[in-house]
Symmetry: C2
Subunit: 189 residues, 2 copies
Amino acid sequence: MQLHKRDVVEAATTLLDDYGLADLSMRRLARELAVTPGALYWHFANKQQLLGAVADRILAQVQLPHGDWRVQVSDLCGQVRDALLSHTDGAELVSASFAAGQSAAMTTVVDGLAAAVLQAGVTASHAELTARTVVYYVLGFTVDEQSRRQWDAAGADLPAPAPLSDDADARFGYGVALLLDGLSARQRV
Amino acid sequence: MQLHKRDVVEAATTLLDDYGLADLSMRRLARELAVTPGALYWHFANKQQLLGAVADRILAQVQLPHGDWRVQVSDLCGQVRDALLSHTDGAELVSASFAAGQSAAMTTVVDGLAAAVLQAGVTASHAELTARTVVYYVLGFTVDEQSRRQWDAAGADLPAPAPLSDDADARFGYGVALLLDGLSARQRV
């Protein structure tokens, strides 16, 4: 039976959801698919590339929004957060893939944010940097949120809960709005 | 020989620097110290608590700065980034400990940032949320920066380098300034 690349990515995503990132190894994935590890390396040069493909699968539903630049940025940030939270360790996996430059979908997100902030009057030379600032906030927030959720689900007794922890949407939106206000302020200068 | 808590933290920090977070286990640490794992659990209820103590050790040199609130925020962000970058996987370890509420030093950093932004006119009810927004950016940026540095040092050929990657200080400062501009803009309303 021929092993398709998309079947490998599907199986890896299922393993991720069931066991978490720490237990997602090439060896385990090969066993799950009943193939040799060598068959996986025919599709992916290394584990980083595979994780990048899983990151793209996690972000597959994200759509570049239309409208006012502030709405575009908020909407895109919200979509990325939702996508990451819908898979076990999704935030950690996407952060790692982004840092390794392995996620095409994250490149599209950065490009979309950069195009939006250009409309806010950010210069072309600073648009990608601004987009990355927004992405670092989104990833930092969501990694934290997901860790807390997963520990909570595992019954861990965590001290010092975050303020407003019962309304994570509002907490997330607050930081995005602060960044947008920074951009708006520069627009007025 | 009596096993002191600070000796355990020192040995754990050395293991971290030499082998990275993935290889920092209670078992390995006990072997390094020539004690039984049980001796470690006398000082730390679990690995999360130990990692929290290592996070505090990493952040030990961070000082709450004085002066104008903008200077305080930038300075504190810069100190945290420098501290994280000075240990292997420091950003990842501190992020995880922060999310688990196990790092007293990170609580002090959040409190320091919250006190600074109060001076910017942020209401008391939003000061901690604002401080956390800044922290998420700092952690998101630094996790990314450190991953890239470590892969680079390992000889990995990473595609799509970040813009201005030859000046990480400027890239980091840009995002902090954007958040500060957001706060300043609200101050003027």
